[in-house]
């Protein structure tokens, strides 16, 4: 079953009967009908359907190297710069269907897995490493269009610099045993977005580990024995697309993933019990360049959407004459074009890596990911500064259906819109920046690729400054 449809996705997930807990209750019945998940699963299904849209098919899929069947372009292993542009076009097409609000649309995880599969040579011949398991799983996922989530952050018990866990019971997920069937994992990982509504969960170390029991990488089905997903409360405000134009559709959910002695079958283990590999694979592989290339492509579409919202507010209440309004909108334009420039540069400066794949320029993408977490929160601030009281004058769809409608029609009209459309517009701006869904989006972008402080230090240390220091030396030597 290559390139699936939305219907197939939903059917498959419903069938898994994953162990998902929300607000103290276990999800029973079809998860796709649960109020916390139905919106986002429907939106995700729409993405899969796009693969079968005739006008899109060529953009969204390519022929499987194994079967010739159409499979998703996000699985494509890039060999040329054109492949990178093709990947970007696909990612942005999907992103447009949710205006970049779904941080974990399937292309993200497909890209992760593709990057792993393109970097397996790094593992070849190393202790407790099984590169061929990655290849097999990658092909299996691609041919079956699996949906996935992942998780690589340990619980936030203590953030001091030299903290090492010393509880008897594991907190951070670790390997606690080995059996004939596989390795046994106990503990937890934070926060799997879309946890419970994907086929599989990919688990690997983010580096910086001291204990080999914490060093592993594998993938398992979401319904594996002993695997539990514990949700935060849902930020889907309700079902009305008028009231909650974004959260009713795109609330992805974040979950704590509990491994209660989960057995990972041997053929799904990518590596284990190898500290060095655990601490270096992520950096050596093409994980970072490719996932960033996907992420930045999506963030561009999201920024376009923000600009659209900002301009809609400006038009609605007719404030374009104010210089400070022009400047605020310009800030977003500058950010948008900067992000576009960075993704282009990452492709122009892409190079074939040691294993023969075309890798986007990592440094350039590091710049992007040092930039976006700082500017996205500013976008939401601008929307609040321009929207002002309009963001609180937002009666619900039901109000418009009631006998106070004439009041609303008269008193909430705007220069260029009737009251119903004006409120619809402002509810969107509110849902984007002020609802619990909107603020979670902001937090998500702030921390998408980790702590901004650490990203900044990492950039400093990895960036080659030598040539410029030499120029200074040269100048100082001149008489």
């Amino acid at each position: 079953m290559p390139a699936i449809t939305g219907k197939e996705y939903i059917k498959r997930i419903d069938k898994l009967k994953n162990n998902v807990w929300i607000d103290g209750k276990q999800v029973t019945g079809n998860i796709s009908e649960h109020p916390a998940f139905k919106g986002v699963m429907k939106s995700q299904a729409a993405l899969y359907d796009l693969q079968h849209d005739k006008s899109m098919k060529d953009r969204m899929t390519y022929p499987s190297p194994l079967t010739g069947d159409p499979v998703g372009v996000s699985y494509l292993q890039a060999k040329t710069r054109e492949d990178l542009a093709r990947r970007r076009a696909m990612v942005q097409q999907w992103a447009k269907s949710n205006n970049g609000m779904m941080g974990r649309s399937p292309d993200y995880m497909n890209t992760v897995l593709m990057a792993f599969a393109s970097s397996i040579e790094f593992l070849r011949g190393k202790e407790n490493c099984f590169p061929e398991n990655i290849t097999k799983f990658y092909e299996y996922a691609r041919e079956n269009d699996l949906s996935m989530t992942h998780t690589f952050i340990d619980p936030q018990v203590n953030r001091a610099e030299y903290y090492m866990e010393d509880t008897e019971e594991p907190i951070a997920a670790k390997m606690v045993g080995k059996t004939k069937q596989g390795i046994v994992i106990k503990g937890a990982r934070l926060l799997a977005t879309q946890g419970g509504i994907t086929d599989e969960i990919l688990v690997f170390s983010a580096g910086g580990i001291f204990d080999k029991a914490n060093g592993f990488a594998f993938s398992i089905p979401s319904n594996s024995e002993g695997l539990r997903f514990v949700c935060r409360e849902s930020f889907a405000g309700g079902e009305s697309a008028y009231d909650y134009p974004l959260s009713s559709r795109f609330e992805e959910m974040d979950t704590i993933v509990v491994f209660d002695n989960v057995v990972v079958p041997w053929d799904r283990v990518f590596y284990y019990d190898n500290i060095e590999v655990s601490n270096t694979f992520m950096g050596a592989s093409s994980f970072q360049p490719f996932t960033l290339h996907q992420a930045v492509s999506r963030q561009i579409v999201k920024t376009e959407f923000v600009l659209g919202v900002v301009q809609s507010i400006i038009d609605t209440i007719n404030i374009s004459e104010y210089q400070h309004v022009q400047e605020k909108a310009s800030e977003i334009i500058v950010a948008l074009e900067t992000m576009k420039a960075l993704v282009i540069k990452s492709e122009v400066e892409a190079e074939i890596d040691e294993w023969g794949f075309m890798r986007p320029d990592r440094t350039t993408l590091q710049i992007a990911i040092n930039t976006f977490p700082r500017i996205y929160p500013r976008f939401t601030e601008i929307i609040q500064q321009l929207g002002a009281s309009g963001l609180m004058a937002i009666p619900t769809e039901n109000a418009f259906k009631s006998s106070v409608r004439p009041d609303l029609d008269q008193y909430l009209q705007a220069k260029s819109r009737n009251a119903e459309d004006r409120v619809r517009m402002f509810r969107l701006a509110w849902d984007l920046t002020m609802s619990s869904f909107g603020t979670r989006e902001t937090l998500y972008e702030r921390y998408f690729f980790g702590d901004p402080i650490k990203l900044s230090s990492q950039l400093y240390f990895t960036y080659d400054k030598n040539e410029y220091v030499e120029r200074v030396k040269k100048l100082l030597k001149e008489k």
Copy 2:
């Protein structure tokens, strides 16, 4: 009935049967039992009860000049600097009971009315002005401890600089007639906070009017014939104090106020049909200095609370060793002490005004209100920067009561707190900055005293820079 109790407040409001609409339904039954209002009304009732707390009575009340009965200190007309300090102590005592989250606790409106009553001489002898009506209403409100709201913003139809309404049907509330009973008002005003849960609504012009039909000031009971309050959706997340420690208690609601040919009785009209007075009374009266003195006093308590939350996060996940964490917390300390310094300066530099009342220094308070709207949003950003993923790992009270509790206990524990308390703490930080309630608080502080851009221009034009320009001239003349 001087200085009422919480019970009396609730009983009185329930009895009014105000015409309040929310989510397309009219509130029927006791409004104090409605999910959208019960939390805040209970919190407001607690404020009134504090007036009868023996240890607080002297701080919260003073003897009525008419009857000697205890009445609220927020009604006190200041004659000395000590009176100002006394007013501040009272305001901050109330604020501590809600950590500054209630922007419209009754002391705010009491202060507004007190300031009007202390400025009536400005109206004496002017056309269509009735200063004695203000005095009478002020005394009536004080002796009966009325709760009030107010509204002075016109609907946001068009924000262009030279916009003048020209629809046939009024949009902004205006006087459409005069009868023996009083003046007739039609149109709407935005956004009365606590609209519908107060005894009275005070209505007056904010200045800048061109049409005398828009120029008036009066107060009417909230249940006046033809008066309707149309609510936005409620941001009370639910009733659990664990899940929604703030919104379950302090969500104040904002309402559109519709005047459907409301008759304002003559003895409640303060002035009407007088453009000049409408455009100057607010500025000439002590409205600005006194309401700002109240507001800034409250904002100080709120800032203290923010600092408490920030420090609690730092302690919980043990991050005080990081220099950038220290700097972020210091930003809040600097802001807090700056606000404290400004309120002290406003009292030290207070002067007796032309009508014999001790008026806090307006310029100093303008500085405060040019500062707080810029720093409060930064506070919420800092909380997000420090809380990080902890702000999303927030299962509900019900989750802790369910069979997944052992998972939560183990995996959400923090360095210095058990899981339940840690999540409680993070839910508070979330409710303060990321829930729909929290973001509305941010917007409220951004716009508390109007558009920050205009406040800044106003400060520039009213501030006396002459002495400093002269010093420059003097220097330039020296050889």
Copy 3:
């Protein structure tokens, strides 16, 4: 005389005997020997010499389409994207020789003239327009490797929005007559950088004119009768390259240009007496894309230099371990790579214009010029924050030659440098950011392409936001 040498440049300028005033005295003798000009003229000469450096010749010159002789690449009219890259390589090569400190190295003006020559069709057939004069002058300049300056700002008498000059005597340069010889110009223009040390001065309107007498474009020799250059004081600190590593070499001088009834010969008039053309030519021509492409290329080299200086400070006093130091250096890295990305995007998205030339993408370059004036001042702040007291412990070369040298050697040594080199390094950082030369560089970058506030408004109004507004509309229509 195509592609001249430095010697030829200096000889030619000295011979002109331009009318230049500085500190109340007229420059007499060879201007290239005057302390205010000798440094920059020597640096400029070095640029010309680079055209004859064998290893550089192909990068710096191309065969003249008229003669086949080598002429400067900055005169090259671009037909392909490769031409753009070639132009950039040339510009950056020159920039490296002064680390981007010379804002008016000859390639800037060559580019201006090339852009005009590539846009002459716009003038064809319009009243009082002489496109062929542009062509002739362009070819003459290219074949003789003329140096030029220009000026297009009117004196800053009154910056109010609706100011129109109404003095009897002209202040802003205007046409005051016509003779057989040419048009007669009287008045002044601000601030011609390098005024007085170039062969020619190009004069044209920046748009926004109301009086046709202010609307013209022409070029005249710097020694034209009636033309005077009035200098500000020189910021060349002195001749010691140790003490003033930058200002002794790169101080370019800014001059007020006085036209005292200067006659512009007819064959040098590009247009005159045509308000519409005066207000539209700059925008319609490829002036903006090409000059920005040059400027941004140079600013990149300057940013590289800043990064080199910052890293040199970090190394010298060994502060790379501090997180805030890493973050500050990263800010510069982010800025540098962003500028690089923007210039690449401007080339990738370049398109053939209506007259057949390959024009870099204007919007992208507008982004760059909305960015750099905001970040360059931040660079200088970072240098001050990192350099701290080291920027004041800067004795002069003479001190190192005196008997206190042993004191300096002992007490000013740094972790990785001896005292003399350490002070040399810090004097450079000081000269870049704190000397009168350095702050003038900062002001220059702030205002390089005009008032940042206006650039921001211009970006807002010219940027096409429509597609994004449409996406918002589409979303709002979905159920």
Copy 4:
């Protein structure tokens, strides 16, 4: 000789024949006639003369407790809040005479010494401590109106966190021996402002020392045997008050102080060879509250001057109509009033310390010193943003005296000023923010009380946050 005159000051300093080196030459002859020092010494003399101005005498002096003769108020040991206000009035009076440009006017050092003298009880009975020497020196200085400088920073060899000096020859000044006459000091200290033009130099440890040889405090005459002052280059632009209105008067010079086996007489040793005291005295004494009280009082006057300059620019080129101009000026107003509020709060909350003196509130002043270094650089940025090209169109006084004057008169006139006055005004703005003098002022304010990063951390750790954390706990306990 109590409260001296300017003449006495100059005579006394000239007589000392201090060992001062500048640009490789030793100062010979009267230092008050040397171009690098004459301006600031004349300005300093004017301060002393103010003490004898009849209308000022009561503000500037008080009767000596020893003799009844008038001595400077900056020596006054405060016992009441009124004393603090009196000290502030005196400091600000002096500051007005130089618009706050002299960071080291004598009141600063007088305050330091006064604070030491008011804290001697801390030293009583401790090893190698001589509190009575402080008292004696304090009285001697007060009764003779000594001028002083001080120095407490070690050379910036290596700024790594755990750096300890291990060279054989001392770099940082240390005690290298003891003789009958006194202790012997060898090494250097950075940067004594006004070094060489004061009677005495006060030397003490800033804390954080590991080696007892670095722990001492003493005062010695500036002309002590073996003491050398090595200057940076002078930033006095020249003698013309037109051209350099600030640097010609207020350039204070920074010097490296070299101790070449300097013997400190026993009766001038305050303490030595006591690590604990060296590391705690500064913190325990009233040094910080009193010097900050002086500094903040001065910074207020400086901010007033900046506001005067900004408003003068606005008036000169008529730009007050622009909203962003209003906002920028308002930023300075906000800063000014904030600083004023903080100094008032520090006095209102002053308390009698353990030794009976009225000490301004330290925390409040810490806030001020965490604020000013961040805003002062912003002031200079604002001046550049408003002044724009006007800051480069600044011909010299000589130009106005030359034959190009008619050009200048015509082309540099401003809306409200003739050309000469307009240029004078802009030269002032330039000298304040862009000349080498101006940028040194900015650096000085950035680092006035040490590294802003450390000041911020120090504030975080010393500020009592407990009450606010408790409030959070209380809220979390409520149901």
